[in-house]
Amino acid sequence: MRKFHKSNLFLLSVCSMTMVISAGCVQQKPLEKLGLITTTGYDMEGENQIKGTAVVQKFDPMTKSATKMITSFAKTSKGLRQQSNLQSNQKLVTGQLRSVVYSRELAKKGIIQLVDSLNRDASIGNMVYLTVADKTASEILEIETNNKGRLNLGTYMYNLIKQNVEGEQIISPTLHEFNHNYYDIGKDPVLPILKVKKNDVIIAGVGLFKGDHLVDELKHGDLFYLKILIDKYKAGTKEMGYTTDQLKKIMIKNENYTKKPIYSKIYVSIDNIQSRTKIELVDKKNLRFRVDVDLDSRVLEMTEALDLGKTASVKFLEKKLDTSMKKRIEGLLIRFKELGIDPIGLGNEYEAHLRGKPITQEEWDRKYKDVTFDVHVKNTIERTGVVD
């Protein structure tokens, strides 16, 4: 049996007293007394002023719909919070922030000061999604009021983006990735563009950034190639269109086969795409990049009967896919070069081959103009569905 010394008892009581007394200094944040901002939008409002719109999740036993939209004006995002607090009966906190919307106007001018305020707030996670509004951010957040609070826009937008990121439709636009791409020399961020469609919000495309300002945007078709270049597909889907002449060679000319063409072109849908992309600096002096794209896929749908039973025709289709994809990828790379934006991270690849002094942004911008590409695409059709 251990003896209980008096000094031990004293120490113990001092410890526990400090624990209890100083507990009063800790700020309590009981969940039910908070207004949780789940999504915020930022717009430019005249000169030197931003308009902030926030969707606030509240917990009220009396009412069923418990979200509220608060609009306020200020110079900084923290100032906005102060203004918003005046309009709320519950303390507004940002710990449950899921997504942020910047208006197109703001995005064109640069968003880094607003993103930086997110970075500095410890209660905001790194997995917050950043998005750009097709027009204004408040227009998108007003959907919440138009739906009478039933939509729960904060989680809705979060799930909208998350679902599409997981479905390999868009590139993950988290705060973490934005920061990485923004602060990394030789890489630029991309963010999805949201658009209002009736009482709903949809992803309309992807905005290409130069540093922190929006430069251009990609529509749905090009998104596939952008993702191939930046990321990889594990189970992607893509439809390709060809004229009848291009695929005449492998079409089935059976009289009994009475499938009438509906479209003037032939569309082939490939899915289960697994892509691997390798971007390599082959010539450092002439800045020549070799882009190798490997795609394994399965043909799942075609609008006209193609004779895929023969190996030769599968090879023919693969070749066709190669050439058309190569054209699009080259087009995309040249477009990026002309705009001076680098979402793929060619600068990163270039810097990896440098010894000694790291490259500055200006240097890379200058060099980027002279970059040339060598694109190789190789498609492999592994299966053509279960019919044959």
């Binding site: 049996m1 251990r2 209980f4 624990m19 209890v20 507990a23 800790v26 309590q28 944040k29 009981p30 969940l31 039910e32 908070l34 949780l36 789940t38 999740q57 917990f59 009220d60 036993p61 418990a66 906190v93 710990g95 449950q96 899921r98 209660s123 996670g125 729960n152 904060g154 989680t155 979060y158």
Partner: protein, 507 residues
């Protein structure tokens, strides 16, 4: 506190004095010592002017055997002279001894023996015709099992020893006599397997029990508390069980057990922390099931300790970490509740404890219905009335269930009790408070010892081989050694090589 005080040896010598050699004086002497015992009886016979007296406590002896085996032979014996020697020859009783010390006679009478004294003889005879009231063997109540032997200990020491002996027919099985208590001397047994159990462990037990200066020890559980290493802690350091197979399994692993008369449970040690979560069922089940159940128990204990404090901490301080899927349901149910989360949690934990305690005190049949009905009614009504949130009800129920998975009821109670300070600290400091209390408990456990052995044994100090016995459960062929934690003398259970061998059908 008590065991360190050694007995006073000089007084023992003074007490050595023979009783009076006259029957009438002997009677009055005995009357003087245990005179107020109303059941002290004398039966005097006379023959040829010589007196013979039978002294006994009527409540302790078996009437029929007294009549048949003591009185009858003496009365029928007409030829021979009445002397102690000749009486000893004719009494058909196995347990007989000679005595003339008053103290010894008194002690023997209390144990249920009868004292036969012939007038003028230097010695009398102590004959054991005692009987004790016993219940029959029953199923274990507090440690119920699905698999394995159902028999449990009773209050009879002899009966309990019988069960252990017949369970463990090992010639090396040692049963050492030991008296427990100073004023009321209860017979007890120190049980161990001689060439397995570590000498030090046996000595520690023997020394601690024999040096115990305590008036009356009613049960082995009390004895366990008195000989524990640290009596301030909430964690039990010596296992108490009512299952004989549990004791025999432990004995074969090199542990030492203590049994006491009139106590339906045995204690054994050294028992580190994790051994309180081992059930005998783990041994009887297939190893993979045993493994799963053991993991289940340990996880449930963790949940039981940390789930409610986590709820309190998250809802008071760390709203950021609530997943969005839970956010609305949590917030909506909390919005109804007028108390802060700490109070809410403490209140509900209190209600659950109340239900458990009330259920345990009531007769079995009523207790069960009351538990279920009370749980549902209080749970439902409390949510309806906006007293608690329904998510907390789930959490509290889960942690209560988790604490009951411990095979040792004492450890389960300990787990349930340490939850309260953690909840309070979680309410004061949030996650930091939980971490603080968790570290405190961990350090405390590290400092504890059981019979002089580290309390967190196979984990710290780390014994890789013992993990198969305590935290995990290995298949039988890999357990060719006895757990190192108990420092067994004979370490090998079976040859290691033989366990790995696979016999072909043709061999």
């Amino acid at each position: 506190m008590f065991k360190r005080k050694t007995g006073n040896k000089q007084s023992e010598d003074k007490d050595k004095k023979p009783h009076s050699l006259n029957v009438d004086d002997l009677k009055s002497e005995l009357q003087a010592v245990i005179g107020d015992c109303s059941d002290l009886n004398f039966r005097t016979l006379k023959k040829n002017g010589k007196k013979i007296v039978f002294c006994f406590l009527s409540s302790l002896i078996d009437k029929t055997s007294f009549d048949e085996f003591l009185l009858l032979p003496v009365q029928q014996n007409t030829q021979e002279e009445w002397t102690t020697e000749s009486l000893a020859q004719i009494l058909p009783i196995a347990e007989i001894s000679a005595a003339n010390q008053l103290k010894e006679v008194v002690a023997s009478l209390i144990e249920g023996k009868a004292y036969i004294y012939v007038d003028g003889e230097p010695f009398g005879i102590l004959a054991n015709v005692g009987t004790t009231v016993e219940r029959s063997l029953e199923k274990a109540e507090t440690e119920s099992l699905v698999y394995g032997p159902k028999i449990s200990f009773t209050e009879s020491l002899i009966g309990n020893l019988n069960i252990i002996r017949s369970n463990l027919k090992d010639p090396q099985l040692c049963m050492e006599d030991i008296t427990v208590g100073k004023r009321v001397k209860t017979p007890g047994k120190l049980v161990y397997v001689k060439d397995i159990a570590d000498e030090d462990n046996v000595n520690t037990f023997r020394q601690r029990i024999s040096e115990l200066d305590y008036d009356y020890i009613p049960d082995t559980t009390v004895l366990g508390q008195l000989i524990e290493d640290n009596s301030w802690t909430i964690f039990p350091q010596i296992m108490s069980t009512e299952l004989p197979d549990r004791v025999t399994l432990s004995l074969m692993r090199g542990r030492v057990a203590v049994l006491m008369d009139r106590s339906p449970s045995a204690i054994y040690g050294p028992t580190p922390f994790l051994s309180f979560f081992e059930s005998t069922e783990d041994v009887y089940m297939r190893w993979n099931m045993g493994f799963f159940l053991r993991m289940l128990r340990i996880i449930s204990i963790f949940l039981s300790v940390l789930l409610t404090p986590a709820y309190v901490a998250v809802l008071t301080y760390h709203y950021e970490i609530i997943p969005s899927a839970l956010l609305i349901s949590l917030g909506q149910s909390r919005a109804n509740v007028p108390f802060p989360p700490v109070l809410e949690a403490l209140l509900l934990e209190f209600v659950i404890e109340l239900l458990r305690e009330a259920g345990a005190r009531l007769p079995t049949k009523v207790g069960q219905t009351m538990g279920i009905v009370g749980g549902i009614v209080i749970g439902q009504a409390a949510v309806q009335a906006g007293f608690t949130s329904n998510i907390l009800i789930i959490i509290i129920a889960l942690s209560a269930l988790g604490s009951f998975t411990s095979p040792s009821y004492i450890m389960g109670t300990a787990i349930r009790m340490i939850r309260f300070p953690i909840i309070v600290l979680a309410g004061l400091w949030g996650g930091i408070g939980i971490m603080y209390s968790f570290c405190f408990i961990l350090i405390h456990l590290l400092k504890l010892t059981t019979i002089g052995r580290p309390y967190l044994m196979p984990v710290y100090p780390f014994r890789w081989k013992d993990l198969g016995y305590s935290l995990l459960k290995f298949p039988a062929q890999f357990l060719s050694y006895r757990p190192l934690t108990n420092r067994p003398v004979d370490n090998e259970r079976f040859p290691k090589q033989k366990g790995r061998e696979k016999k072909d059908v043709d061999e």
